[in-house]
């Protein structure tokens, strides 16, 4: 028989209609190390406290129901084993997902998540220039299927949405899942609504993303939303030009490095927000300059600047060919 270990669990409990504030209830179970956290929670439900509320269904990481915080990390309870958690943290603390209001215990209100999903126009829109072939499937090569990357694996669990600090800071940001879904339609050779989709995610769009990669590291299906958001940013600049502060900042950043190999903060602010924007930010600029006057100096060109330019040329050649 597999040896059991004693597992201390601390579980967030809150019934907003009855409890003044949330509390943690501690449980201790004897479980084999490879036991999924979900199994532990179901054991609590069936043997200790049947009032513990959580969402779960398939227990095999395909229905996306049981996302929650396990030792502060957004993940699926069915796919997280107790052993490694104990090794890292000594105990297992369970909280509901972030960025969504708690309905009860570990159950959150996912309506904001689904409303953000709706923003990207989440269905195939046939390009009128390429109607569907009658009575036949559209041809699509294995290479074209590859271009979806892992986005079709998304199970809409919301772990990325819960982990996303950009979502927390800016409620208009659609969140990683919706953007990964947007990517799924953008690369679909059958779809013809890329322009409309990119418009629909304004404001908040793409540029609120901080590239922190927490979505990618919390995704249980390896969808890599942050990589796809990067792809969408490139696409947006190609399709629409640098029309927003976010994209102007990205383009300005690149130009700065290309020209001198270092950032010229003054120039970057002007490129991102324009002259008027600079004036609006002047008070803050003066405060910063008082502490770090070197920011006002035009940076010198770095040594080996030619190498940087050559790198850019190589990259552009490669992308031009792709």
């Amino acid at each position: 028989m597999v040896e059991s270990v004693s597992v201390p669990l601390s579980v967030y409990r809150f019934d907003p209609g009855r409890d003044a504030s949330p509390r943690y209830v501690d449980y201790r179970l004897d479980l084999p190390r490879h036991t999924p956290v979900l199994t532990a929670l179901l054991k609590i439900r069936s043997e200790i406290d049947s009032s513990l509320s959580l969402r779960y269904s398939c227990r095999s990481a395909i229905c996306g129901s049981c996302a929650m915080l396990i030792n502060s990390k957004s993940r699926l309870a069915c796919q997280t084993q107790v052993g490694p958690e104990l090794d890292l943290h000594g105990r297992i603390v369970i909280d509901p997902m972030r960025n969504q209001p708690v309905l009860r215990d570990l159950v959150v209100d996912q309506r904001p998540f689904w409303q953000d999903y709706e923003r990207i126009l989440p269905h195939l829109v046939t390009d009128p220039r390429h109607p569907m072939p009658e009575g036949k499937p559209n041809p699509m090569t294995p290479e074209q299927v590859e271009r979806f990357h892992e986005t079709p694996r998304c199970i809409a669990c919301g772990a990325c949405y819960s982990a996303c600090p950009a979502k927390e800071a800016d409620p208009t940001f659609p969140g990683p899942m919706a953007l990964a879904k947007l990517y799924r339609f953008v690369v679909d050779p059958r779809d013809g609504a890329t322009r409309e989709r990119l418009l629909r995610i304004q404001p908040g769009g793409l540029w609120t993303c901080l590239r922190c990669h927490l979505c990618t590291t919390s995704c249980p299906k390896d969808v890599q939303p942050s990589e796809r958001i990067r792809d969408l940013k490139e696409l947006a600049i190609r399709e629409q030009g640098a029309t927003e502060a976010g994209s102007r900042h990205a383009v300005g950043f690149k130009e700065n490095l290309h020209d001198r190999g270092l950032l010229n903060e003054m120039r970057l602010v002007r490129q991102t927000d324009g002259v008027l924007g600079m004036l609006r930010q002047a008070p803050q600029g003066i405060r910063i300059a008082a502490k770090k006057p070197e920011l006002l100096h035009k940076p010198r060109r770095i040594e080996g600047q030619e190498e940087v330019r050559r790198l850019y040329e190589l990259l552009e050649d490669e992308e031009g060919g792709a």
Binding site: S57, R104, Q110, T141, P152
Partner: protein, 557 residues
Amino acid sequence: MRRHDVLVVGAGLAGQRAALAAAQAGRDVALLTKLHPLRSHSGAAQGGINAAVGAEDSVDTHIYDTVKGSDYLGDQDAIEFFCSEAGKTVVEMEHFGTIFSRAPDGSLARRPFGGAGFPRTIYAADRTGLALLQAIYEHLGTEKITTYEEWDLVDLVLVDGRVQGIVAHDRRTGEFEGIAAKSVVLATGPAGRVYSRTTNSHSSTGDGLAIAYRAGAWLKDMEFVQFHPTALLETGILITEGARGEGGILKNGTGERFMSRYAPHVQDLASRDVVSRAIVTEILEGRGFPGGFVHLELMHLGKEKIESRLQEICDFSRNFAGIDPVTEPIPVSPAQHYMMGGIGTSIHGETNLAGLFAAGEAACVSIHGANRLGGNSLLETLVFGKEAGIAAAQFAADSPSTRVSDIEVQRTLGTVRTMMARTDGVEPLAFRAEIQAVMERRAGIYRNDADLRAGCEEISTLRERAATMRITDSSRVFNLNLTDALETLHILDLAEVILVGALARTESRGAHSRTDFPKRDDANWMRHTIASYRPEGPQLSYAPVAYTRWEPKERVY
């Protein structure tokens, strides 16, 4: 009062396809699910969807394979219709946006599946159910329908044998509400949680079947329970037949590729009932591994093939069993997987009750007969979901409006309040485990008279105790203890129907394997079992099987 023309219960593939068809027919449609539509169990289907679209294949061969696979209990007129719809169904789903795996020439890739004469199973890696579920959900989003998410179906309301609507429970608010509908489509999916070892999700508790049964609908062929040959040892998580379709092989504890003794021609790709019995026989005769399992080997396929075509299987094995299929064999044994039986319907989803329709795994048309072929159930959800949706829309168009009286809601609520008021009695989850244990012990892969009789007696003892079931959680919001109790009562009724049907059927056919009656008995048993509800236990009657062109033969693979 909430009121709709057509109310579809269950938002998996069958339910969503029914809702789509009914909405396209111009009706006011509502879709009710105890989950979110994208969390439905259809999404767990891995292997693929059958359609005879290859140049060397034909619809007739698909029909023949399905008839043979059903061990001649499938209705041949229904099977002919079913297979002839396959090609256009797959094309439609492709047009809705399904991302299928592709062959180098850009056509839909196909893989071989058990019991099929040709590589006929179209797939999306090893997550075909998820791919289809996403596409239908996306497409249904373009129609105007009302969705009730995280609502439990609690009761069907019938007046004079005609459906008036349902009583449902909103998990978010805790309210019980009546929803009137001129027609109701039940697409509530599987009932695998009647057993403890099942590939099915925790939500697969047969709600629609049990509620329809108590309302007077006929349950058909419920004794035919499919056990999938390859489920992960501890958890019962499904390892797709596609793993063998891609070349995976089964080996016993002595390292022998034992399927060559049971199915010399197709070996590991024999029909599911054949492979499951072979595995259990190996284990019973001492040739399994200690702990009662066999090995599924994929290592010889190579890392690249395993990781690209069987990506989910890799993850399952690594995350849920700590096994890397690239370097080690996967420990597997059979687990309950599918109910061939269900609410008896016509090709158009009609039941014996006016205004009540059913589709998908909750229904029995019957196309699977005594044993379902892999790749046919995804197709079934879409073909018959659409038919049921069209028929329900037509029925609603021809019907006067209906209503659900508050008396119905109060009656249901009364039952729940009684369970909540008890300070003593059986706990739903512990009690559920007892029912499941009876079913594993008495109505598994091999059955016999003594076991089934004992099972019936054990269930009637449990039924007496069920009257004392108790709900301990008193909260209104997401009270899962309440849904546990309702689901457990559903499971109890269905367990009884399976046992009684299996005891009566004194033959072996397809997935129903009686050690005391090892032969198929066409003279006496080539007929469907019909179970109808009586308070004292199910009443059985029998209905003929529809034949067209295929004479019963012995099934050899």
